[in-house]
C-alpha cells in the first residue's frame, strides 16, 4: 500500500462531517421532534430525543464515512485481476478503544435515562405507587381516565366525582392521571402532552404531566384492544384556568343524573359484571 495514513484521513473526515451533521440535527431537526412542547414532560422528551440523536449522529457518521471512504479508496481499480486483500489481524489498541467508547456511551445513557425518569416520571405510567413524583405532586389535579371498548371517559374526584365524556385540562397545572380500564388492556396516549400509560382492568396506573399553554391534543388508544381499536381516538383540550372552571361547572350541572348513578370514587374502577353481560 501507499504511505497514505488512511486512519488519520478517516478520522478527519469523520470529525468534520460529524460536527456539521450534529449541528444540523440539533439546530434544525430537534425543534420539530415529537411529541412537541405541549407540556413540561413533552418538552423533556424532545430534549431527550435531541440528546440521543446528538450522540447517535457521530456514530452513524463514523459508519457512513468509513463505508464511503472504503468504497472509494480501497476499490480494486484493475478489474481484470481479482485478488484478495491483506489478511485482517487483531489490533489491541482499536479493540480497547472500541470497548471503552461503547461502554462509556451505554453507561452514560443508562445514567441519563434514569436521572431523567426519576425527575418527574417523564409522562409515563408508573403503576399505583409512583416512585418518580415531581415536585408539587401533592397539589396536582387528579383525573381518572377510564378506558373501555372503545372510548375513554374521565372522572374528577376534586369536583364531586363527576364523570365526563371529553377531557379538558387547565393550562400550567400539574395533572395526576389515574389510568384504568373496565374491560381489556388499553393504553392512554395523550400525544402532544407526552403522556402514555397502560390502562389495565382493575389497576391504577399513575402518570404525571404539567400542562403548558392552551392547545388541542390528540388522544389515542395505544394498545390493540378489539375491532374498533383504530377508531378509539378523540381530541382533548388544554384551556385557560377560568375556561376550565366554567367547563367543569357546566359538566357537573349537565351530568347530575349520571353522577348519581356512579359508584363512590375509587382508584380502581372495575364494577362487578351486570346481568347477562357476566
Amino acid at each position: 500500500m501507499s504511505d497514505v495514513n488512511h486512519w488519520r484521513r478517516v478520522v478527519l473526515w469523520w470529525l468534520g462531517t460529524s460536527i456539521v451533521a450534529t449541528l444540523l440535527v440539533v439546530l434544525f431537526l430537534a425543534p420539530i421532534l415529537p411529541p412537541g412542547n405541549g407540556s413540561v414532560e413533552a418538552s423533556g422528551q424532545v430534549v431527550d430525543n435531541t440528546v440521543l440523536l446528538g450522540i447517535s449522529t457521530p456514530i452513524a457518521m463514523a459508519v457512513l464515512v468509513y463505508f464511503i471512504y472504503a468504497l472509494i479508496v480501497f476499490r480494486e481499480r484493475d478489474t481484470t485481476a481479482v485478488l484478495d486483500g491483506p489478511a485482517i489481524r487483531g489490533d489491541a489498541r482499536i479493540q480497547t478503544w472500541w470497548l471503552v467508547v461503547t461502554t462509556g456511551i451505554v453507561l452514560f445513557l443508562a445514567g441519563y435515562g434514569t436521572v431523567r425518569m426519576l425527575a418527574d416520571g417523564a409522562g409515563g405510567g408508573q403503576g399505583p405507587n409512583p416512585i418518580a413524583k415531581p415536585a408539587g405532586a401533592a397539589r396536582a389535579l387528579q383525573v381518572q381516565v377510564i378506558a373501555q371498548q372503545w372510548k375513554f371517559t374521565y372522572r374528577w374526584p376534586s369536583y364531586g366525582g363527576v364523570e365526563t365524556a371529553t377531557l379538558e385540562l387547565p393550562s400550567n397545572r400539574m395533572i395526576e392521571f389515574h389510568v384504568t380500564s373496565l374491560d381489556v388492556i388499553h393504553s392512554f396516549w395523550a400525544y402532544q402532552l407526552g403522556v402514555k400509560a397502560d390502562a389495565n382492568p382493575g389497576f391504577d396506573n399513575v402518570a404525571y404531566v404539567t400542562t403548558k399553554g392552551p392547545l388541542t391534543f390528540d388522544i389515542h388508544c395505544a394498545e390493540l384492544c378489539g375491532v374498533w381499536h383504530g377508531y378509539m381516538f378523540e381530541k382533548g383540550r388544554v384551556v385557560r384556568p377560568n375556561q376550565f372552571s366554567a367547563w367543569i361547572t357546566q359538566q357537573r350541572a349537565q351530568n347530575v343524573p349520571a353522577t348519581k348513578s356512579l359508584p363512590p370514587y375509587s382508584k380502581q374502577y372495575f364494577p362487578d359484571p351486570q346481568r347477562r353481560g357476566g
Binding site: T153, E163, A165, P271, G277
Partner: protein, 221 residues
Amino acid sequence: MSGYAKRVTGIVVVAAAACVLLGLYIGLYLTNQPGSASAAQSPAGAHLYLGTVPASEGTDPHPSWVSYYAVDAASRNWRHDTTFVVPANTVVTVTIYNYDGQSGLRNPFISQSQGTLSGGFTLDGKPTRQIGPDTASHIFAIPELGVSVPVYGVPDDAKNQCANAPCGLATAHSTTTFSFRTGKPGVYRWQCFVPCAAGYIQGWGGPMQTVGYMDGFVKVV
C-alpha cells in the same frame, strides 16, 4: 410435447389458477361490506328506524347473536344492515324498537344520554334523560359525533317476548326516539356500549367484535 415441458406447463397453469383465485378472494374481501340502509326523508328531516333483537334471524350465519337491524316505521321490513346513510347538516331522528332484555352497563355514566338535540330522548313517548344502568339493553352511540343514547331493555317478566328477528310491535318492546344534527359529510362508526354478547367473556365477544351486529357505520352524505 416432452414430459418435462408438460410438467412445466402443468405447474404454470396451476400456479396461475391459484393466483387468480387468491386475487379474487382478496378482491372480494376488500370490496365486501355490510349492506346499508338510508334514512327516510321527510320535510321535518331524516328519520332512521332501527330494531334490536336478542337473536338474529334463523338464517343468519350467527342466529344466536344479538343485533341491530334496519326496519321501517312500523317495525316491519327487517334488513340486516348496520351501515346507516343520513344527509349532512340535517336533523336526523332515530327511532329504536328494542325487543331485547336488560343486560346492564359496566359504566353507569353511559346510562345518561349525550349529544342529542334536546339533551334527552323519549322512552315510550315520555321525555327521558337517563335510565337505570341495570335496565339498559343497549346503547346507540356515535362517539365521534358525541351522540350516546341508552336503550331500555324489556323486563325479564314481560309477556309475549320476541326471541329472533324479525319482531313485530305486538311483542314486548320499548321505543326510544331521539334527534341529533349531522355536520359535514364523513363516515363515522357507531357502536353499543352495553356488554350484551351472551355467552362471551364479560359480554364483549362475538357480536360486539363483529361489524354488522352491535356496531357499524353512519355515512353522512
